[in-house]
Subunit: 417 residues, 2 copies
């Protein structure tokens, strides 16, 4: 083992080492129908004004506001209706003084007209309407470009496309978008004791939950996942599997190590195949056991065999890099300052991540820790929408203290909030 | 028009009318690999204890704590190592007084042994170890069932499966799950002025953004969407399309109405084909224009042609029913009480929904309204993670007032938070 890489680095330092890695991006053009959750690979500009012409906000009449000067209940103005303009049509005539067009909601306001009025405010006799009040010119029209002007940036390169973005693109007549190809992540899980969920459990074995939990997490981020199965504790097998897998993926994730300490095995095998180790262990708990290396310009994450530790370290240390690999613009998850709900009795010689829930009560936000925080316990991620972070070197923290928290609901505990 | 259904009902009342509708559920069995975001259709029980046997938390030795009574730095105890137990194997021998087994992390603790100790705390000479301190019996073991006991409910019928739930199922050796079939929602958009995004915009027309925005919203909830296209303002066409579409879907959504007032057209056509109208208009803004009816035990939502109004009413009035159709257990979205960040000058004769963002600052949560709140503006849903609700009958609301808010980030503005 190499002493220089044995130092436990701070998770923030680990993030920077990972973000310094270059990514080979590939793009693809997809239909807007398939765009939900994808990441825009270029700036997208508005192509049309929305609305593309002055529209009527009502079912009513369009005319010149000037014609109503002096109009009142008793002294109405009469205008001749010269045409009808349903939505989706185009006016034939220009409106001059003394004339009006019947217009339907969304219909284009004809040349010459500068106001609209609702049916209900008028009286129609034959083809003439009576108007009983003054209307200021240039009012009660939805103007061209009022909602969106042409040639503005509407989506930035690296934006994730969700409901609002997709609606905006459709309103611009953009039916195809250039997005980043989804990164492909391979996973294999090391450990002679591991049994895949579909098999019967034999004596001394446990079920492998690392694969499915990591897969769900990565799919939530917008990645594709390949399962390379369970590998026995055999250095040669691990080396062979690593080389094979790397040729098929953008990123490789392994869990577990070997029988002699969690990571030494994972470490030796990747060193044997010529990987450059970026860091080995970070000063965080749980999840400090992580080895990250670079081989053939691809990143290999070696995570703990404990499912909770594996997820926490991949979230805290790996997420910004995973976001970068997806092409996202915003790489670091937003953190918020919230009140710790209950005392934390433990000291934190390393950065400590707690799983829990944000509770909002009359405008104040509290972080409530989930009861079970064991490293092996995946159930602690159920109904978990936040991780609180206690800084390295902290003593016990009392209830009511402001702590940093990450909002993780959509990645872990609650789909759809 | 029928006067009894012309009354604008409160959105909460509309929700109850919708929730009273029965749903014909169908189930399917799927692989755990495909389970992300799906809804469990039955209670799921734990099948095994986790861990399934007493395990060692360390690489070290297992023996009887009683053997160490009186041990100290100067007066060590010596034990004979009689076997080695890697993870994934099963012990051959029972431990009796004076003996120990070498054991690796995750290895099963042998019969007779009741403590484990790390390598580093011992000294090995030939096949004997020295122990330099007393160790209480029944400590330093990960006990069978410590993380999860057998035969407990781990997933309730109606739970959404996310990372934590999926990891938990895998840890139980559950590789297939019974889930509700995804409801199929059909959408058609009415309006002679509408052009699909993939076509060229002609004079007097606008692009149809309603379809894609609604599709994204429904997909986020976990529904499948069928596009029935754009229908011209022609009552007969609309009736025909409604009947055709209903035979292919569980729920039908239409937007827009006709040239004479937003909903009267949508209303007359569904009445003509024999639908029972549940309600027509709700007392909310935007999005009050909504007609909901029931035909052949299927629900038809007639939404506004304004994209923002359509999304807001479907969220506020339709979401609990849509969740119910998905089989979810929790139907009503969680609301929180937060501080309004800026004055709201308007009166609210109807329930008012504001689009915006929750800002958390030193433990306090503020709702910051998005600038543009127009009915036609989908861009106001970009970076929108909350809707604030101003009660019906409110006057202007000043900054700092506590208001109710819905958290909507995962459905609208921000994937992955």
């Amino acid at each position: 083992m190499n002493s220089e890489i044995l130092v436990q680095i701070h998770p923030d330092e680990a993030i920077e080492l990972l973000l310094a890695q270059d990514i080979d991006y590939e793009m693809e053009t997809i239909s807007l129908d398939d765009a939900l959750g994808r990441v825009a690979a270029e700036n997208i500009y508005s192509k049309v004004n929305v609305p593309p012409f002055d529209r009527s906000p009502y079912d009513g009449y369009a005319f010149r506001g000037e014609d109503t000067i002096g109009a009142s209940k008793d002294k109405w103005v009469e205008l001749e209706v010269i045409e009808e303009i349903p939505a989706g049509t185009w006016p034939k005539y220009e409106i001059s003084s003394g004339t009006a067009a019947k217009i339907l909601t969304g219909g284009p306001v004809p040349e010459g007209a500068n106001v609209c009025i609702k049916y209900e405010e008028t009286e129609l006799i034959d083809n003439r309407i009576k108007i009983f009040r003054e209307i200021q010119p240039n009012t009660d029209i939805v103007y061209m470009g009022e909602d969106r002007k042409k040639d503005e940036v509407i989506i930035e390169k690296g934006d994730v496309l969700n409901t609002g973005e997709i609606g905006e693109l459709a309103s611009q007549g953009i039916s195809k978008v250039v997005v980043y190809r989804k990164p492909v992540v391979g996973i294999f899980n090391m450990g002679s004791e591991l049994t895949p969920p579909e098999e019967r459990l034999k004596k001394g074995k446990i079920y492998n939950s690392n694969y499915n939990a990591l897969r769900a997490f990565l799919e939530n981020i917008g990645m594709e996942v390949i399962d390379f199965g369970i590998i026995k504790d055999d250095e040669e097998l691990v080396e062979q599997k690593t080389i094979e897998s790397l040729s098929l993926v953008d990123i490789l994730i392994t869990t577990g190590g070997a029988s002699v300490g969690d990571y030494e095995y994972a470490l030796s095998s990747i060193k044997n195949i010529g990987a450059k180790v970026l860091f080995w262990k970070t000063a965080m708990k749980p999840g400090g056991s992580i080895v990250v290396s670079n081989i053939e310009d691809k990143i290999v994450f070696g995570l703990s065999g404990n499912p909770a530790a594996a997820l926490l370290s991949l979230y805290r240390v790996g997420l910004p890099f995973l976001y970068k690999a997806c092409g996202r613009r915003e790489l670091k998850p937003e953190t918020v300052n919230v009140f710790l709900k209950e005392d934390l009795d433990k000291n934190s010689p390393a950065v400590r991540l707690l799983r829990g829930k944000l509770e909002i009560d009359n405008g104040k936000v509290y972080f409530a820790e989930n009861k079970e925080q064991g490293n092996g316990v995946v159930s602690s991620f159920v109904k978990c929408d936040a991780f609180a972070e206690i800084p390295m070197g902290s003593k016990a923290v009392s209830a009511g203290t402001l702590v940093k928290a990450y909002r993780v609901g959509s990645l872990f505990g609650s789909v759809g909030e």
